[in-house]
Point group: C2
Chain length 135, copies 2
DNA sequence: GTCCCTGCAAATCCTTTGCACTCCT
DNA sequence: AGGAGTGCAAAGGATTTGCAGGGAC
């Protein structure tokens, strides 16, 4: 196994991700990191996100919009994805335990982790629709 | 809304998908359709899969392996994804209802659908590992 | 005849990778 | 010094799209 050395860039990526709750893509994170590291490259962001995910320090998931999202939270929890504005919300993790227990019996293998996505429209987008419908 | 006309290619894509239980990608489906339509193009497969998914005739999901998978089953059910061989198994849908009921209260919006993925190693891969470990 | 659908190829988007150079230890 | 990390740019894979011709209605 390869030794891992400190890097300011990686540290900044971790901090940036920790301070965000919007489950950014690599590119979104890249954009906000550029204010602190104007010369950082997108490749470096991808490389470090991949590394951190493999180390288990962050979580990586794809919710069907064509790009990978990253989350500093590693404890299992659910996501709500708004189909209108593409926002991703965390959902209370109380729901998680019951679900994983449900699965133990009929699984065709050993389950290590699971991911749950709810799709719909968030309250904000529903509001906007209402006000534009009253025309 | 645009009118939709019959096409032999689209019909074949639907039939092919219906006859498969392995949740193929567009490319995998393309390969097997070529035996019946040697001249079909990958673009046509993508276009029709996209259309069918929008019409709600098929389901589309991404499980984190970088490409989209398609499923003829539109009723909600869970998936087990083997991290070793990348196979995707359907799981009994008895689990589904309880889950969506669990979610109704804390959701930040109106839930239309949801997707659940369990990750791990399937029994076959676990077996193979055992036999190769006994060296 | 009209408009949708196809095949083909180019374009686009997201992510990874090779290389020369820099930074950490 | 030695190896890991970086920036850059090119490569790679997946998906979409523009266009001219063919098919459905």
């Amino acid at each position: 196994m390869k030794a891992i050395k400190y890097s300011r860039q990686r540290e900044c990526i971790k901090t940036c991700l920790m301070n965000r709750t919007d489950h950014p893509t690599a590119d979104a994170l890249y954009l906000s990191i550029r204010s602190e590291f104007p010369n950082i490259s997108l490749g470096t962001v991808y490389r470090n996100l991949k590394l951190l995910a493999e180390l288990g320090e962050i979580t990586r998931f794809s919710c069907g919009d064509g790009s990978e999202h990253f989350d500093y939270t590693t404890e299992p929890h659910y996501h709500f994805v708004c189909k209108a504005c593409k926002a991703i919300y965390d959902l209370p993790k109380e729901l998680v335990r019951e679900n994983s227990e449900l699965l133990t019996e009929p699984a065709p293998g050993r389950v290590d982790s699971h991911a749950v996505f709810f799709y719909g429209e968030c309250d904000e987008c529903l509001k906007k629709q209402k006000s534009s419908n009253s025309s």
